[in-house]
């Protein structure tokens, strides 16, 4: 029993329990202190992840390698930035309760377990811990009908997905006689031909995970939940959990079912094509910027899945880079949305951004950078993400994916440009002064997005190591 391996998770869990006590016992409002404590715990966990040795623990249920390290750092960064973005908003909306950071903490813990899962049961545990926290947090603004609706919608559809996952997992267990990923891989490799039941199980598992990453055709919940949930919650939804779910999907596809590439590849190619096309077309007509970002995130998942669908090391590396870049760009863009507030009232229409180019040039510039990066315009970071997945598609000869990816990029540029157009070309009133925490997030993510091209080497090397650990 090598329990020291799970030190980062232990730290998070202990911190969560301690914060729970600290939140309940005192009569004063301790939410700020708990925010800071959770933030500190996440940083500590990140440091521990960096120092985490490789190996497996709990009878092979838990694995730690370069891939988990890469993904966990991303997840923790996403969660910490999400918390930073949310703090000021929660105070202004009267939602500053100690449960908020706590739920973020537990969802991070769930994500880390998911990323490290090497067993279908561990996977399910992590996924449920994440999902339960997310259901609550989506409905965090209890007095808002839309928020409650978002939470309920997410809960019902999410439980359905969990059911699918369990059903698929049981079929896989029935075939392989084990829930451990390594055993499953052995069993799959040892048989001649492909048993039908196993394929059905695999498809169920993939469908459930596709729901979590909101890939077409399991994307329906995304726009409604994104629109209804409080903006910082949406910011969190679109970043860390998405990265973790993609990581999980990659692990499941490339690990235990690596031999069944021909089977899952078709599913993923269709999901990727559908997501890219829907993400590009459906966003055009949106007036609410959170809905726009929801469709945009569906599109981005499509590009990322392209990397997995081509089924090569190069593709997985592209996917990892794509998700890393997407995470930071997305958090930055959402930080701007969180700062959209006039006379104390939060706004979420695209037209409300009007005049930002004049009233707050720095924030408008940052938003321009994020939008152009998402559209994949060089030399911004988003271009490199797309470059590497397209490169993988071209190397593998997947022309349909590459060409559709290119065309949808051009279509989606239209609505990203619309945001820029509204900010610079239209006239409007100034927003309330943006809080310092937002400025910090904007500066950090903005600089990353602009200067990625100058220092890509460490990211490439980390992604390369992660792929090597995953594929072996």
């Amino acid at each position: 029993m090598n329990w020291t391996l799970v030190l980062p998770e232990l730290v998070l869990a202990t911190a969560g329990l301690a914060a729970l006590v600290a939140g309940v016992l005192p009569r004063r409002d301790t939410s700020f202190a708990i925010n800071m404590g959770v933030f500190g715990a996440m940083l500590l966990a990140a440091v521990l992840v960096l120092a985490q040795p490789e190996g497996t623990a709990f009878a092979g249920q838990y694995v730690s390698d370069d891939f988990t390290r890469f993904m966990k750092l991303l997840v923790l960064a996403g969660a910490a930035l999400g918390l930073l973005v949310a703090m000021d908003w929660n105070v202004k909306e009267g939602l500053s309760k100690f449960e908020f950071p706590l739920l973020l903490l537990f969802s991070s813990l769930g994500m880390m377990v998911m990323v490290s899962a090497n067993d279908l049961i561990a996977l399910y545990l992590g996924l449920e811990l994440l999902s339960l926290s997310l259901y609550v947090i989506a409905a965090f603004n209890r007095d808002s009908e839309r928020s409650a609706e978002a939470g309920l919608k997410y809960f019902i559809l999410g439980s359905l997905a969990s059911g699918l996952l369990l059903y698929g997992a049981s079929l896989v267990y029935g075939f392989a006689g084990s829930t451990n990923f390594d055993r499953i891989a052995d069993a799959v490799g040892a048989t001649e031909g492909v048993p039908f039941g196993l394929v059905v199980g695999l498809v169920f598992v993939l469908a459930a995970l596709a729901f979590k990453v909101s890939a077409v055709p399991f994307h329906m919940w995304t726009p409604d939940v994104y629109e209804g949930a409080p903006t910082p919650v949406t910011a969190f939804f679109a970043s860390a959990p998405k990265v973790a779910a993609i990581a999980l999907l990659t692990r499941v596809a490339a690990g235990p079912f690596g031999e069944l590439v021909d089977q899952w590849q078709q599913v993923l190619i269709l999901a990727s094509l559908g997501s890219m096309i829907l993400g590009a077309l459906a966003a055009i007509g949106q007036r609410n910027i959170k809905r726009l970002m929801a469709y945009s995130s569906i599109g981005h998942v499509g590009y990322a899945l392209m990397g997995l669908a081509v089924g090569s090391d190069l593709g997985i590396r592209g996917l990892l880079l794509y998700m890393a870049i997407y995470l930071f760009t997305n958090v930055g863009a959402f930080a701007v949305l969180v700062a959209m507030r006039r006379n104390g009232r939060a706004l979420e229409g695209i037209d409300d951004l009007a005049g930002l180019g004049k009233s707050d040039p720095a924030m408008a510039l940052a938003m321009t950078v994020f939008m152009l990066s998402m559209a994949g315009i060089p030399p911004l970071a988003g271009f490199f993400g797309k470059l590497y997945v397209f490169l993988a598609a071209v190397y593998g000869g997947y022309w349909v994916l590459a060409v559709v990816g290119v065309l949808t990029s051009a279509v989606s540029a239209y609505y990203y440009l619309r945001v820029i157009k509204v900010m610079y070309f239209d006239a409007g009133d100034a927003f309330d002064a943006r809080p310092t925490s937002i400025s910090v997030v904007l500066a950090g993510t903005g600089l990353f997005t602009v200067f990625f091209f100058a220092f890509p080497a460490p990211f490439l090397a980390a992604a390369q190591a992660a792929v090597a650990a995953l594929v072996g």
Binding site: L391, A402, P456
Partner: protein
């Protein structure tokens, strides 16, 4: 490491960006900021131009090799490198970019009054992208700069443009982006086949003719939009009409050249069989562009739109020259690109002079300007003559060489190009007569002031260049002599190879 002894091309590329960074941090009252931004931008671009003159003096004209080469590893595991250098084809375009930018900044001195700081930053960033594109020797870097141009251009048209600026900015961006993304796929294929992104290394690659056809079409999608070739030229008149004067100058002067430069840099040397195969189609599209857009230009009521259509026609001559695939034609095309950069840029400045005073681009709004602004009328006439390719002005050598080259390739194409020259004379002289001669139609025109000293300073270098290029074209032609010869002989060698299967 290179002839200059220091990384000259990188300096030229990124110096404007440093200037933009300085302007970004200027603080204070709006008027002070505006004035500081103007002066910083002007000095940055002047220093850049001064440094770029090293290229003019130290460039070795006797070789077709890349010079002033800089190489650094960037993403080695992908075979991707930071690789800069110029040859005879690109060196003059670097100079054209660095020369036009200060003139643009000077011409916007009073015309731009709102958000001066952002405007100047946009222009300096644009300069970085242009210089970087012409000196990139790496496919991915080329693409980055090629696309990066869109960002400042979108903002320049969208923020400081005319009434329908939003539509025009979108059209420019989306047209170009769609074409470019297809080019990106073609570049990825090249990358895959060669395992490297270095352009000189790609020259060694032999590509199966059936693949070449697809690659040619993908590159064509991007370059044809940028040139622009008929029928994907429609974004250009909109963009020109709505762009501020300096935006039009840089658009006509440099940005249109990127497409033609792309043909010369990628399509011709890398895809010889496909180029040969598609040449008749290119001729057809170009001749249609020349004749059709000239006729359209005749019917225009808006000065800028007229010059925009004339640009399409002139670029049609350029694409004819490129696809003649012989020495005269390609030299003529390059010369025509340079002269068009100078002359059409100057013509847009001429329109800008009137627009700044009267705030109208409508031809019918003017008349008899010669009597009120004699100095301006003279300057305008010189550039009109340059545009109609009068011998002794910059327009002539290029068009003449292209027609000679086209005659060798196909006399009918030469006929089309010559027809374009005649129509060019018709619409330009018609424009000039309506605006400058005839009676003074409106009383308020009488109050117009002739060119100010600042405007003379802006025009002086362009006048000089127009005459110099017309009277002594060799000093420019000699730059690309060797490179064009190498390009043509490489093409002939590739065509002499026994045909591979598949075509």
């Amino acid at each position: 490491m290179n002839a200059a002894g220091f990384p000259l091309l990188s300096l030229l590329t990124f110096l404007p960006l440093v200037g933009a960074g300085i302007i970004l941090f200027v603080r204070g009252e709006e008027a002070v900021v505006a004035s500081n931004a103007r002066w910083t931008a002007l000095w940055t671009s002047l220093i850049t131009f001064g440094l770029s003159l090293i290229l003019w003096f130290q460039f070795d004209k006797s070789t077709a090799d890349f010079q002033f080469v800089e190489q650094m590893s960037w993403m080695p595991e992908f075979g991707l490198g930071y690789h800069m250098g110029v040859d005879g084809i690109s060196v003059l375009f670097v100079l054209l970019s660095t020369a036009l930018t200060p003139l643009c900044i000077l011409s916007s001195w009073e015309a731009i009054q709102s958000r001066v700081r952002e405007y100047m930053i946009a222009f300096l960033v644009l300069e970085t992208m242009m210089v970087g594109m012409f000196s990139s020797l790496d496919v991915v870097m080329f693409y980055i700069f090629f696309e990066g141009v869109l960002i400042p251009m979108f903002l320049i048209i969208g923020v400081w443009g005319g009434a329908r600026r939003v539509y025009a900015a979108y059209k420019l961006f989306l047209y170009t982006l769609l074409g470019s993304l297809l080019m990106l796929l073609a570049m990825l294929v090249l990358w895959y086949q060669a395992g490297t992104t270095s352009i000189p290394a790609l020259f060694e690659l032999t590509i199966a003719p059936s693949t070449q056809v697809w690659l040619f079409l993908a590159f064509f999608a991007s370059f044809a939009v940028k040139v622009p070739m008929w029928p994907v030229h429609t974004w250009l008149p909109d963009a020109h009409v709505e762009a501020p004067t300096a935006g039009s100058v840089i658009l006509a002067g440099v940005l249109l050249k990127m497409g033609a430069y792309g043909f010369l840099r990628f399509s011709l040397p890398l895809l010889p069989q496909a180029t040969e195969w598609f040449a008749p189609l290119m001729f057809a599209l170009s001749v249609i562009a020349v004749v059709y857009t000239s006729l359209v230009a005749l019917a225009q009521e808006d000065m800028k739109k007229l010059i925009a259509y004339s640009s399409v026609a002139h670029m049609g001559i350029v694409t004819i020259g490129i696809f003649t695939l012989n020495h005269q034609g390609i030299s003529g095309a390059i010369f025509q690109m340079l002269s068009h950069g100078v002359v059409s840029g100057a013509l847009f400045l001429c329109v800008g002079v009137l627009y700044d005073r009267v705030h109208s681009r409508e031809i019918a709004r003017y008349g008899g300007v010669a009597k009120i602004m004699p100095g301006y009328a003279l300057v305008f006439m010189l550039f009109t003559m340059g545009s109609v390719a009068l011998p002794g002005t910059a327009g002539f050598p290029g068009e003449f060489l292209v027609i000679v080259g086209a005659w060798n390739a196909n006399p009918w194409v030469a006929f089309g190009a010559a027809l374009g020259m005649i129509l060019g004379a018709a619409y330009m002289l018609y424009l000039y007569r309506r605006v400058v001669f005839s009676k003074i139609t409106r009383e308020d025109l009488k109050a117009l002031l002739d060119l100010s000293p600042r405007e003379y300073v802006t025009f002086a270098p362009l006048i000089l260049l127009t005459l110099w290029m017309g009277i002594y074209p060799s000093s420019f032609l000699s730059f690309f002599e060797a490179s064009v010869a190498a390009l043509v002989s490489r093409h002939e060698a590739a065509m002499a190879l026994p045909r591979l299967a598949g075509m």
